[in-house]
């Protein structure tokens, strides 16, 4: 009896396997494998992708959709070793110039110029520049973002508070203290604590910048234990520990988004794309209750980061023309219309095409945050958000290859401090050691 069942099971498995053909599923024909980060806008694009397949017969799409940290690890490993698993990768303005310089990416400028109606001049200039290397675009933006602050107008009104248009961090800390309501399950503010240089370091670095801190001085001396850096780290950690969300040390963009949308936070400082989910009636309970103001500052006149998730084609990709047709589909003006009409105008990928901001329906749907988003992206230039010059590019990251590792390690220390496992000083002392090792290697090569 048992034996027959076992045989049956094996037979069933083999039949199932039959669908697998030679074992490598979908390996034949023109299948584009696309590695993307599983943020809401990307998931919308995945859902719409059968329209691309319908318009491009013979090209099949296969998505590898992973959370940010995992996606980054996989995409970097694959691109750096010329692994060739992916035909299209989603990367950011951190990777693009470096990888273009390494010769790992296909130069997209000929494709951009050769596609009528693609209109590259429609991209927000700061975003387009951040994806260019020696005057050519090596990646095309899917969405662009800076950071700003969302706050619950209803809660502010109830507490008799007024949010200024350009708040300082001290004001934000005071608001957070007043609005923190443990009994009602509402935290004063939501800030990322999850490790990952693209997670907690992004908001934290903007705080550090406006506190006058930097990672390295002009001679590549690590500055993570400078008084400014300590002040910034103490401020951030204390704020999130005292008035931040539950489970802060493991909360990233997605987790914060869920909490804010469930009405569990009075304020949220994060990426400008958050507005899309905050105002989405299908997932948010706080639609229409939020106001959006510029990133809080301390010593600078502006703050905020500059970031774009964009699409690129690895040099080793086999079918580059098909890959480009997908890039074109996902980043052109028609895609914006498609998303707007199917998923609602709040779901449109923001911050990358200027023409999006001239669409009446979008202006109507996004009136609370469209202008603050554009303003933030515009203001996010190194000279505006920093007190002193630094030897590296990037606002919320250090534009060197070692930063993936260094940033991840420092972000872990920061996260541990937020969890209360170690003190802020301990976290910074350890981080300083990591940073100095990296800094030394740049001093030597100079």
């Amino acid at each position: 009896m048992g034996k027959r069942l076992a045989l049956l099971a094996v037979a069933a498995l083999l039949t199932l396997t039959g669908c697998a053909g030679a074992g490598a599923i979908g390996a034949g024909g023109r299948t584009l494998v696309i590695a993307i980060v599983s943020n809401p806008q990307m998931n919308d694009a995945v859902a719409l992708s059968d329209q691309f397949e319908a318009a491009n017969p013979g090209v099949k799409l296969k998505f590898v959709s992973l959370p940010e940290n995992e996606a980054r690890a996989k995409i970097t490993a694959s691109t750096a070793t010329q692994g060739g698993e992916f035909d299209v990768v989603m990367i950011s303005n951190y990777e693009t110039p470096q990888w273009a310089a390494n010769g790992w990416l296909e130069n997209l400028q000929p494709y951009v110029d050769g596609t009528p109606g693609y209109d590259p001049n429609d991209f927000v200039p700061s975003i387009r520049d951040s994806l260019s290397y020696q005057g050519s675009m090596y990646a095309v933006p899917f969405y662009g973002e800076s950071s700003f602050l969302a706050y619950r107008k209803d809660l502010f009104e109830k507490a008799g508070l007024t949010m200024p248009a350009h708040p300082t961090w001290q004001q934000i800390a005071d608001f957070a203290a007043k609005l923190d309501d443990k009994n009602a399950g509402v935290s004063g503010i939501c800030l990322r604590g999850k490790p990952g240089w693209g997670e907690n370091l992004a908001p934290f670095d903007t705080v550090a910048n406006t506190f006058g801190a930097s990672w390295f001085d002009q001679n590549w001396n690590a500055q993570l234990t400078s008084p400014q850096f300590k002040a910034a780290a103490n401020f951030y950690v204390n704020l999130v520990r005292q008035h931040g969300e539950v489970g802060a040390s493991s909360a990233g963009f997605s987790e914060c988004g869920t909490r804010y949308a469930q009405g569990q936070a009075a304020m949220w400082y994060d990426s400008t794309v958050m507005a899309g989910t905050n105002e989405d009636p299908s997932s948010s309970e706080v639609v229409g209750k939020s106001g959006y103001v510029a990133a809080p500052v301390e010593q600078t006149k502006a703050s905020g980061w500059l970031y774009t998730w964009s699409l690129a084609i690895p040099k080793v990709a086999k079918d580059k023309q098909a890959a480009w047709s997908f890039l074109n589909w996902m980043t052109d003006k028609e895609f914006v219309q498609l998303v707007g009409k199917t998923d609602g105008w709040n779901a449109v990928p923001p911050g990358c095409r200027l023409s999006t901001y001239r669409i009446p329906e979008y202006q109507q749907a996004a009136k609370a945050y469209a202008q603050p988003t554009l303003d933030s992206i515009d203001a996010a230039q190194s000279a505006n958000v920093r007190v002193q010059p630094v030897p590296y590019s990037g606002i919320q990251f250090v534009g060197i290859p070692e930063f993936q590792d260094l940033g991840t390690r420092v972000s872990q220390e920061l996260s541990a401090a937020i969890a209360g496992q170690i003190s802020v000083d301990e976290a910074l002392d350890q981080s300083q050691k990591y940073a100095q090792t990296v800094g030394d290697s740049y001093r030597e090569t100079k």
Binding site: A6, S38, G252, S254
Partner: protein, 275 residues
């Protein structure tokens, strides 16, 4: 109360205690099954909901997210690697038991020591070698590695089952003039067949659940079910119901095989050797 009724009462209460412990122990699983039939909004509530309108929509959306290719990959990798393990493992086990080669214990020691190698130690070379040999994101890379991963344990298990074959039977066969193939198929295999089945079952379980190689060496084409689950690593949008449905679907094949063959499982794990 008489001692008799006391004892009966004691036994009954022990049974109740056993049941309670068992249910508490698998509660996370029962909860998973329950959650997989919920709508997302019912999945994360405080307090947790027990009554809700059940739905199959989570399973449907898992299939929509392209679950089936992962399932097919898992099935293919598991079945093929287990078959290869048996194909090369059975002769090896025979050569280490009934017709022992010189230095049997050294060979056995070598096999077992590879099992104790931390698999993470060689992951970069494996990645580079796979890339050079076009095996990156290819099911055959996993098949080769899973075969190597399961082979030592399998040989060791099957060897202990071979040792159970009574020497007299073999000798009797020899006396009758039976040639080796006949001896194998008529005398030895019937005795060790259940042991081989048990071994195969354990190889199936370990291949199906393997995570590390799968996550690092596959992407879209050759991903197995554990890789599919990585997409749920963030609690983004709190897809708990969908996660539960995915977890259930991903585990179900091995769960069913394991349930049906639990006696084999016990036998395989205790390796026959411990008699």
């Amino acid at each position: 109360m008489t001692t008799h009724t006391q004892r009966r009462f004691g036994r009954a209460s022990l049974t109740v205690v056993t049941w309670v412990i068992a249910i508490l122990f698998v509660f996370p699983l029962l909860w998973m099954i329950l959650t997989s039939f919920k709508q997302e909004a019912d999945a994360y509530t405080d307090p947790p909901k027990l009554a809700f309108g059940p739905t199959l929509s989570q399973f449907a959306s898992i299939l929509d997210r392209g679950f089936l290719p992962y399932l097919a990959n898992s099935a293919f990798v598991t079945v093929v690697s287990t078959l290869i393990v048996l194909l090369v493992g059975v002769p090896a086990a025979y050569a280490l038991s009934l017709a022992p080669v010189p230095k049997t214990s050294n060979v056995l020691g070598f096999f077992l020591s590879t099992k104790m190698l931390p698999i993470v130690a060689a992951i970069i070379p494996l990645y580079v070698i796979s890339q050079k040999t076009q095996l990156l994101d290819n099911v055959w890379a996993l098949i080769i590695l899973y075969t190597a991963m399961n082979l030592p344990l399998a040989i060791w298990m099957m060897r202990s089952f071979f040792l159970e074959v009574p020497t007299e039977m073999i000798e009797a066969g020899r006396v009758d003039g039976a040639k080796l193939p006949l001896l194998l198929s008529r005398v030895i295999l019937p005795v060790v067949a259940p042991g081989i089945a048990a071994t195969a079952l354990i190889c199936v379980i370990f291949s199906w659940t393997e995570f590390f190689y799968a996550v690092n060496l596959t992407a879209a084409r050759a991903g197995t079910v554990p890789v599919f689950l990585v997409g749920f690593i963030t609690s983004e949008g709190l897809y708990w119901a969908q996660l539960s449905a995915a977890a259930l679907l991903a585990s179900l094949p091995v769960m069913i095989v394991g349930w049906i063959a639990q006696n084999h499982l016990v036998r395989g794990l205790s390796m026959g050797a411990v008699k």
